[in-house]
Symmetry: D2
Subunit: 253 residues, 4 copies
């Protein structure tokens, strides 16, 4: 029997601004990545998100980002490895302490947006993130793009990792995601999305846009929470995976 | 033999801007209050400040503030008790986790600026701060103005507190500090400052600007680190207290 | 024939976060108040909002605020009169310049949230706002709460003002709005709301919650844009006022 | 007789943090670049800086930046051309309006830090900055690195430009500045610095670190204001240029 983790970014409201349907989505995922205040998520949003996750027994991860509220952490920034280490240290420490205070326990760390993408292919950046996570808590699991430098650098220093794949994105021959600027970047059909996920977890392969089968490791599947149909999509992915006999649960330590 | 804690606000640089002579001042105090990023102190400044304190074996406290970088946390703000609880939770969690990651252990919490002053006389605000500190770590010591509501509310829920007095400020008959707008608010003479401190820790009294003796509890003495003569002042206070046989050490749990 | 201005707060999105239905609402109001970046409204949001208003020939005002993104400018802050002058100067200058660059012309200034409320009853604060507006452009109209100190202080230094009333709020005997914490603070019925507006502009009176008639000056009526039924409400107010023969147009200089 | 503009970055304090010796430095330069709040310079700092410049009859420019307070605008960021246009529009509008309100007139625009460096070699970025400046005021002069794309793109759309050179930096064969990571990047000797400036304005050439003479256009010379010896350096450069018969004055329109 196969098992997989379904994760979703949450806690991305800020002050008077709402984003996502966090409470409803929590019923269909096994782990969540909580914004830490740098790209979204003020202290009150973070506290409420953790409280809800603790109540629903969903695994809580920190979702640290570049300091860029206006750009939602999606704009590339060039920080030194030391600056990266420091901002990850701060954000993960805040989330770990808040989880513990609210009756939970921080389970993993997944870098957000541009930080996630840059860490996939920049060894120094990946190393700085991994080092910060390890020094906060060596038992935290680091979620990173499957086949990325973030995964290999984290494993090199002894961290447990979870290779992440995307239910609603297509892949290129080199294992990277098709850029959002391309017409076929997104999978909008739930059926097709479930097939891709099932192939990734069962056969450990994925069909690229070029028609090739490439190998991929799928330990956690990202469900986007901020699109218009996010809730429906999550419910369907969850239902079909279960129907097929896949166990949906957070990555185990 | 008398003992007292000398504390100083530190980590108040931000990005390219420097403030204070943290490294030098650490030789003369027994505990420091580290800015948490809301009024000062970015992640790199915080990390460096904690590292220096761990090396010098100075007790580290969190110094949470209202979110007001431009006003340096000195401007009154009206937040709900829930918002106060949340921002203190976030800031203290960040500092506690960073201390642990860097080989130290968070020792206390001292609210900063306007948050400190408002918490001295607003019961709800004081209660929200105390509740947040307790839920993060019930062993943390809460530093508050001697005789204030922050002290009494913290003790009411079982937190250990440290009553704070000021070496360089004069007092009014009701136990409050003389407002900075008054001509005689500041004590600029080190000799006079030491005498006041000694009287406060030995006799548990202080002479007000009106010439009355009032009772005061002095468990920790604040040394300001951002004035022109801060370093010289700290060195002299430290030297003279030691000469008089006062033991300078962090508040014990 | 009576005429009145209908105004609405706009440009309150920020980065990835959307707020309000600005484009649709512009069809039903004669002037808008554009967030200036301190409580909402990044540079791109401001630019797009002004472009839309210029196209739809709606009068554009600046909507300056305390610097409090997380609190959406709704939390009281205590700034010096000089600080108030400076932040209003900066925000109004930015909006005036952007309007001119985009083919429009800044028409008025309406302080936002806590700044608006505090300026209604604090003479120094009101004076600082008025002075900043005047030095930027003495032809700008200052929108303030009817009967407030902001109106009187602005007129004292020669600024044109527009006394503002609220379509969806009830009034107290002293002319202030019923606090939102009271059960009868809001008027949710469009019919009742239109009656109140008509009475205010035709008879220059309003019925208080206590059943008294008090005098009130209504030169501009605020339509809230961020509630669930904002769009429907604005359309109805607009339609019924027109049916009754009221001319809806921006305050004339 | 030769003439040249000496410019200096100013208004880079923020809240409680001081930077630079603005008041003293203004005696030795003919134009200043005022931070606009995105990398430094809150509204009060900007207002005071403009007031001082108006009094001392120094030409005032806007110094817009990426939104990065913690990184002081020195960290590369990847924004879209539209985002660049919008943030420059906002910042320059604010400065232009404040200058006019305070009895001055905005004279030029010089992008700051990473924005300046990226605009030197990225055509889209350079074009977005130039377009924003032009739409605010087509009479503004754009200061850019001599021989850069920022200069050529600005001239292409009809803006007047000022080619900037550096008194305290060495040059490479391709006309770029020697990277700060190189040992010989900085000129610390005032004599040598003055010789370089004189050669650049008189012969329109500069000796590279490799010993070659290359051609360079020097209409404005940047004096750094934030180093330890900035004041002394500015005074000496000013004195020696005058002695040699060079007229120090802002770029004329």
């Amino acid at each position: 029997m196969f098992s997989v983790d379904l994760n979703c970014d949450m806690g991305e409201s800020f002050g008077a601004w709402r984003m996502g349907s966090d409470a409803a989505l929590m019923d269909y995922v096994s782990s969540i990545n909580v914004a830490c205040g740098f790209h979204a998520g003020d202290a009150s949003v973070i506290r409420r998100t953790i409280e809800a996750a603790v109540e629903k027994k969903v695994a809580v991860g920190a979702h640290p980002s570049f300091p860029d509220l206006q750009g939602f952490g999606r704009r590339e920034m060039k920080l030194s490895a030391t600056e990266i280490f420091d901002i990850v240290l701060y954000q993960v420490a805040a989330l770990k302490g808040m989880c513990a205070a609210l009756g939970g326990k921080l389970h993993h760390v997944k870098p957000h947006g541009a930080l996630y993408n840059q860490a996939a292919k920049d060894r120094d950046l990946a190393g700085a993130i991994a080092a910060a996570v390890k020094v906060i808590d060596g038992n935290l699991i680091l979620y990173g793009l499957s086949n990325s430098l973030l995964i290999s650098e984290s494993e090199r220093i002894g961290l447990q990792t979870a290779s992440e794949v995307f239910a609603d994105r297509t892949y290129q021959a080199d294992g990277t995601l098709t850029a959002r600027t391309q017409p076929n970047a997104l999978i909008k059909n739930v059926e097709q999305s479930c097939s891709q996920v099932l192939e990734m977890i069962a056969a450990q392969t994925v069909m690229t846009t070029g028609g090739e089968k490439i190998s991929i490791k799928a330990e956690t599947v990202c469900i986007h929470g901020d699109s218009a149909h996010a809730l429906e999509f999550a419910r369907e992915i969850n239902r079909r995976l279960k129907e097929t006999g896949v166990l949906i649960q957070a990555v185990e330590k």
